[in-house]
C-alpha cells in the first residue's frame, strides 16, 4: 500500500528506536500520554512498546469517543430506539457498550428495536430520505474529527426540509478534555511529562489549541500521525524537548496538520453547533464547556428537543476502573475485572468495547507481556 507501508517500515523503526534508546536519560523516567485511542490502537497493534526503553512509559488517554460516552447517554439512546416510530442509526462500535442494568444497543436490537449500523452520517440521511414514514435519529459521537460531517448532514437535512431526520448529539471537545486531565493531576510521581497530540482531530482544529499545555502546564506536546513510525518519531521529539528543558507544541504530522487547521470544517461546526454548559464524561465527570449541542437555528433537527430527552446520570459498575484508566491514573491491569469478569466478549466497562479502548487494546494485543513483566518486576524487587 503506497503512502501507508512507508510509515510502517521496520528498518526505519529500528533506527528511530536506537535514537530513542541513545538519547533517553537513564536517571529519569518519561511518562507520555497518547491522548487518542487511534494512537493507543497503533501502539498495541504494532507492538511499539517493545521498541521503547524501560523508562519510557506510554499512558493511554481518554481520546476514544465510545469509551467516554457516559452510561446515561447510552440509556437515552436505547430508550429512543425502543420508540416504535424510531430508526436509530449508529456506528457499529457503540452497539456493545454496556448501559444500565446490563442493557446495550445490541440487546435492544435483538428485542426488536430498529437500530442500523452506518458508516457515515450521510448514510443516515439517505435512510431518512428513503423511508419518510420512519423517524430517523443519528446517534452522533466523537471528537472534532467526526463533528464536521455531522454538521454537513444537518445542513443538508435543513436544505432538503427533511422532517424525519434528527441528531442525538454527543460531540465532545479535545482541548477541554486535555485541560481536565492536566488540571486533575495531583501526584508528582504519576504526573505526565508530555503529550502525544491527536492526529485526525488536529487536521480539523490545527496545532494552536494545544498551546495552553505548554504555556500553562509547562509540558511539551507533539502532534503525531496515526502510523507506528509517526508515534515513534513523536516520542523521540518529546524526549528531545524534555532533555533540552523545552516545552512547546511541535507538529510531527506536518503532512496533514497546519497551525490553524481546516477553516472550512471549523466554520461548518460553528454554524451548526454551540457549546453546552457542561457535559458528563466517563472518567472525568462533569466537564464545563466540553461538548456541543445544535444551535437554535437547527433546533428542529435536535433529537433531544424532538423526543424530550432528559439525561439521568447513571452509575458505572463500582468495581470497574474505566474512569481512572481514562484519566491515565491506572492501567488496564490495575483493574480487578480485567481479563476475568471483563473481556471483549462480556465488557463490563466501555474501555473494553472499542478497539481504541485501552483495555480492549491491551487485552487483544498486549496481554502476553503481563506475566513476563510481573516476573521481571518480582525479580527486580
Amino acid at each position: 500500500m503506497r503512502y501507508v507501508d512507508e510509515y510502517r517500515d521496520p528498518e526505519l523503526a529500528k533506527g528511530v528506536a536506537a535514537r530513542i534508546a541513545a538519547e533517553v536519560d537513564a536517571a529519569r523516567h518519561y511518562r507520555f500520554m497518547e491522548f487518542c485511542g487511534g494512537h493507543t490502537h497503533a501502539i498495541s497493534r504494532y507492538g511499539v512498546e517493545d521498541m521503547l526503553p524501560r523508562n519510557v512509559a506510554m499512558i493511554h488517554g481518554p481520546g476514544c469517543p465510545v469509551c467516554v460516552l457516559p452510561v446515561g447517554r447510552i440509556d437515552d439512546a436505547i430508550r429512543l430506539a425502543s420508540d416504535p416510530r424510531v430508526t436509530l442509526c449508529t456506528y457499529a462500535d457503540l452497539m456493545r457498550v454496556p448501559a444500565s442494568r446490563g442493557a446495550s444497543l445490541l440487546k435492544a436490537r435483538a428485542a426488536g428495536a430498529d437500530i442500523r449500523m452506518v458508516y457515515s452520517t450521510l448514510d443516515a440521511l439517505r435512510i431518512a430520505e428513503a423511508e419518510p414514514e420512519r423517524e430517523v435519529v443519528f446517534l452522533a459521537i466523537g471528537f472534532e474529527t467526526t463533528t464536521p460531517p455531522t454538521a454537513l448532514a444537518i445542513k443538508q437535512a435543513k436544505a432538503k426540509a427533511l422532517r424525519n431526520f434528527s441528531v442525538f448529539c454527543n460531540h465532545v471537545l479535545t482541548p477541554v478534555a486535555m485541560r481536565a486531565i492536566l488540571a486533575g493531576e495531583s501526584d508528582e510521581a504519576t504526573a505526565l511529562d508530555g503529550i502525544v497530540g491527536p492526529a485526525h482531530v488536529s487536521t480539523v482544529i490545527g496545532a494552536r489549541p494545544y498551546e495552553f499545555v505548554a504555556n500553562e502546564y509547562g509540558k511539551p506536546v507533539v502532534i503525531s500521525g496515526f502510523e507506528p513510525l509517526d508515534v515513534m518519531q513523536s516520542i523521540l521529539m518529546l524526549v528531545r524537548q524534555i532533555n533540552e528543558g523545552r516545552c512547546a507544541v511541535e507538529n510531527q504530522y506536518v503532512r496533514a496538520v497546519t497551525h490553524d487547521g481546516n477553516a472550512r470544517a471549523q466554520r461548518e461546526m460553528d454554524d451548526v453547533f454551540e457549546l453546552q454548559e457542561s457535559f458528563e464524561w466517563r472518567g472525568l465527570g462533569m466537564v464545563p464547556h466540553s461538548a456541543l449541542r445544535l444551535a437554535e437555528a437547527f433546533a428542529a433537527f435536535d433529537a433531544e428537543k424532538r423526543f424530550g430527552i432528559h439525561t439521568v446520570a447513571a452509575a458505572d459498575n463500582p468495581a470497574c476502573e474505566c474512569g481512572a484508566i481514562l484519566r491515565g491514573a491506572k492501567k488496564p491491569t490495575d483493574c480487578k475485572l480485567f481479563g476475568t469478569l471483563c473481556s471483549p466478549e462480556t465488557p463490563m466497562g466501555s474501555c473494553m468495547v472499542s478497539s481504541e479502548g485501552s483495555c480492549a487494546a491491551h487485552y487483544a494485543y498486549g496481554r502476553f507481556r503481563d506475566r513476563s513483566r510481573a516476573r521481571m518486576e518480582r525479580a527486580a524487587s
Binding site: V4, R8, M51, R96, Y119, P344, F368
Partner: protein
C-alpha cells in the same frame, strides 16, 4: 388427453407458495431448475433419498448452512460457495469427498431466474469437483421469513486407514503453513455491500480444495497433523481454536503471511485486520518439522497453493496465546475475534 406443460418462466417469473406445496408446481420447479442443473443418476430416480455404495475405510460427514448476503458476489455466489465450503470441510479431515446433499429454503417472491443461476452455478461447481449432489429438498416460506434463499448442505467423504488429522494434533516445534493470500473472500463480499465500492475488483477465493489436500497427503502423509480452512473469523480464529484444542501456543510472523495489496488496502480503509477476514479457498496446515520443505513444495506445485508460505511454528504455552512479530518489529497477540467483524459472509 395430456395438458400442455408450460415452461417455467425463468425470465420474469417468481417463486410463489405453490412451488413449495408438494403439487405439480413444485415437481416442475425441482425438475426444471435443480435436476436440470445437478443432473445425475441418483436425482433422476426422483426418490426422497439416495442409495449409495458402501465405502472402504472410514466415513466422514459434515453439514453446513449458507446465508450469504449478497447472494452474488465477485468471484462466486451462494451456489458455488455452498459446494466448495462443504467439500472443504470434508477435505480438511484428509478425506476424499464423495457425495453432497442440498436443501433450499426459498423466500416467496424470489426471482426464478436467480434461482436457476444459483442452481447452475452449484451444478458447475459440483461437476468440476467431481462430487455429485445426490439428494435434495425444497421449501418455500412466506415473504419476509427468509432473505431470498438459504442453502443447507451435507457432505460425505471417505478417509483411508492410517490417516488421522484433528485439531488436537499440533505439537511444539511443528510448522504452520498457509496455502495463499488471506482475507480475499470477506473483502470481496464487503466490496459488494451497500455503499462500499473500492474501485478495484477484489474476487472471492471460493474454491474446492480436495485436489490440493490430496496432493499434500501424498507428499507428507502422516507428518501432516492438522488442516483447517480458515473461513469465518479468518486465520486468527483457526489458530486460536487449534491452540486451545491442542493445548499449545503459536509464534507467527506477520511479514510471512501473504495478503494481496488491494485486500490490505480495503482492510485498512474499513478498519479490519486481514487475519480475521474469511477465506473460502485457502487452507492452513500444521506438519511435523521434518516435512515442512516437502509439504511446501507440494502445495506450491498445485494451482490452488502457488503462494503457499511458512508463517510460523507451534510452541509450548499453557496460556494458548498466538503471538505474532508484527511487520513493524514489535510483538502482539492475535486474539480471538470478539463481536462481529463482518455480517453474513457465508
Amino acid at each position: 388427453m395430456k395438458p400442455v406443460r408450460r415452461k417455467l418462466d425463468t425470465r420474469n417469473g417468481r417463486v410463489d407458495l405453490s412451488h413449495g406445496s408438494g403439487g405439480r408446481a413444485m415437481a416442475q420447479l425441482i425438475a426444471d431448475i435443480f435436476h436440470d442443473a445437478f443432473d445425475n443418476d441418483w436425482l433422476r430416480r426422483n426418490d426422497d433419498q439416495a442409495t449409495l455404495d458402501a465405502q472402504e475405510g472410514r466415513l466422514v460427514m459434515t453439514t453446513d448452512g449458507y446465508v450469504v448476503s449478497p447472494l452474488f458476489f465477485p468471484g462466486g455466489d451462494i451456489g458455488s460457495l455452498s459446494v466448495h465450503g462443504t467439500i472443504n470441510d470434508i477435505a480438511m479431515a484428509g478425506a476424499t469427498p464423495k457425495y453432497l446433499s442440498a436443501s433450499f429454503i426459498i423466500e416467496e417472491g424470489f426471482a426464478l431466474g436467480d434461482l436457476k443461476r444459483i442452481a447452475q452455478s452449484m451444478g458447475d461447481a459440483s461437476r468440476a469437483a467431481g462430487v455429485p449432489i445426490v439428494t435434495g429438498d425444497t421449501k418455500v416460506v412466506e415473504r419476509g421469513k427468509a432473505d431470498g434463499v438459504f442453502i443447507s448442505t451435507a457432505g460425505v467423504g471417505v478417509l483411508p486407514d492410517g490417516l488421522s488429522l484433528s485439531s488436537d494434533g499440533a505439537r511444539p516445534g511443528d510448522a504452520v503453513l498457509v496455502s495463499g493470500s488471506m482475507g480475499d473472500h470477506g473483502v470481496a463480499i464487503m466490496s459488494r455491500r451497500e455503499n462500499l465500492e473500492f474501485g478495484v475488483e477484489i474476487l472471492s477465493d471460493s474454491a474446492a480444495l480436495h485436489g490440493l489436500t490430496a496432493a499434500m497427503i501424498g507428499a507428507a502423509g502422516g507428518a501432516l497433523r492438522v488442516m483447517r480452512d480458515p473461513t469465518r473469523g479468518g486465520l486468527a480464529a483457526a489458530l486460536n481454536e487449534i491452540a486451545h484444542q491442542s493445548n499449545v501456543g503459536f509464534t507467527i510472523n506477520e511479514e510471512l503471511i501473504p495478503v494481496k495489496p488491494q485486500v490490505a488496502a480495503a482492510c485498512e480503509f474499513l478498519g479490519l485486520d486481514p487475519l480475521y477476514v474469511a477465506n473460502e479457498g485457502k487452507l492452513m496446515a500444521i506438519c511435523a518439522p521434518q516435512a515442512t520443505e516437502t509439504l511446501l513444495n507440494a502445495m506450491r506445485a498445485h494451482p490452488l497453493g502457488r503462494e503457499a508460505a511458512l508463517i510460523g511454528h507451534v510452541v509450548e504455552d499453557e496460556r494458548n496465546f498466538v503471538e505474532m512479530t508484527t511487520r513493524f518489529g514489535g510483538g502482539r497477540i492475535v486474539d480471538w475475534l470478539s463481536g462481529e467483524q463482518l455480517p453474513r459472509i457465508c
